[in-house]
């Protein structure tokens, strides 16, 4: 494992990106930060700028207008960067598979490391997903 990746996994900072979601996943992500779940204990922090982020949490069904922005933002993330697809919309488009405005799932646009299915996934599921992500890339 590269030194860069090792440093990243010690305290992964997450950036949350909504590509046309229904708010549920975004609210549940924020829920992870509030007292009952409180993932800040483990060094995870929601950051305001994409340039500070190590992990990209993408929610929503990747509609045509957001995809342009998503590509621009992905180019701006310092690499290595890990991508988590939160929610069924991002993974397989779920209910929106027939929609004219949601052409492709997220993994056709940018590489995805972990999928967290659910509509919306519970905060416990999200925390489990991040733990799996850390294990996958060889962390503690």
């Amino acid at each position: 494992m590269s030194l860069k990746l090792k440093a990243l996994l010690k305290s992964p900072w997450v950036f949350h990106l909504s590509t046309g979601s229904c708010n549920n996943c975004d609210i549940e992500i924020l829920d992870c930060l509030t007292p009952r779940f409180d993932i800040e204990r483990f060094g995870m922090l929601l950051v305001g700028s994409i340039k500070h982020a190590d992990v990209l949490l993408v929610t929503g069904s990747c509609n045509r207008m957001s995809v342009e922005r998503l590509k621009v933002l992905y180019d701006q993330v310092p690499k290595p960067c890990l991508v988590v697809a939160v929610g069924t919309c991002t993974g397989s488009r779920g209910l929106f598979i027939d929609s004219y405005n949601c052409p492709v799932p997220l993994d056709k646009i940018i590489p995805v490391d972990v999928y967290i299915p659910g509509c919306p996934p519970k905060p416990e599921a999200m925390i489990a997903g991040i733990v799996k992500l850390i294990q996958k890339v060889g962390g503690p």
Binding site: N23, S49, R64
Partner: protein
Amino acid sequence: MGKTIIPIGPYHPLLEEPELFTLTVDGETVVDIDMRMGYNHRGIEKLSEGMTFENSTFVVERICGICSTSHPFAYTRAVEDIFPMVVSMRAKYIRTIIAEGERIHSHLLWLGLAGHFLGYNTLYMWAWKLREEILDVMEILSGNRNSYAMFKPGGVRRDIKTEDIPICIKKINSILPTLNMLKKAVIDDPVLHARLKGIGVLSYQDAIDFSALGPTSRASGVARDARKDSPYGAYQEMDWNMIVTQNGDVFDKAVVRILEMFEAAKIMKYCLNNLPDGEIDAKIKDVPPGEGIGHVEAPRGETFHYVKSDGTNRPVRHKVRAPTFMNLPTYKATVIGQTISDATIILAAIDPCYCCTERVAVKNDRGKMLYNGQDLVGLSREKTEKIRRRMVGR
């Protein structure tokens, strides 16, 4: 000093959802704003027209995660409006319980985020901690934390078990003291008074002119509430108060929302205590041709659904009007002349929900969205001009 343009968004730490606001400022004062939407458009109305009446309930539930009760509620009411049918009292009570639970969790969420925007993070954490309790109640009742999937045309999908009722009432009672503490923390705080009073005032006349809805209008003294004006569900069965304040500033909007939570808890407790017996589902077989409307007071204002049926098992036309569609233009009336530091809290005060609102997107053939509000108005004027010329020519 010249004018400066400040873009907020589309991906901004302040906004949950992607949205682009362009503030034109002169020094510290906001002179003009422009909004650009469409980042959340998913084509829900079209999707709904391709699904059966029963399946459309799940599509409209995904319009917005926070209002995931009010959209299905309004939709089922619209379908029930097409032909005369009777929904059982038990189903109505269960619907009311779920709708009021959603109101409490949505207002708590708003209160937390408003505190966060003001740099009052203690309030944020307290409100969201309290919100978990009400989400537990919803999980006991429906099995889900959000997106409850309780509604279907003609009734509800799940019954409430008798043994769950005392647990829910106990939980609701246990949050009331903390809610009281939060109320005091906001209403008696001198800092919040200094920060929020007289900020972003929406006058009574403006609230009427913009057709503001929900807490945004009730804070300006307009007593408008779909639950009182045209009662649905079980709201006419009990006594509850419509909260109306007069000043129309951000502080009053917060007060309206906080006091509404107590009313919602009261309604929930009454319904749980007096849940009548009976069937929960009217078992609709066919929907005859016709059209129906349904409106429901969502936490943010009145949600309106229109459904047209041609006798098949799918809606021919399904139209959604979310409350933010009416409330967002009031931002223009309230923010101009205020300082840029207040712009965020004034926007937050209307509790905007863009994913509810985005029903239309315009594209040109290169695949980029180009039209903003002014362009659309320009297009509309052009069309009027064309029609006028044609009429004169004839």
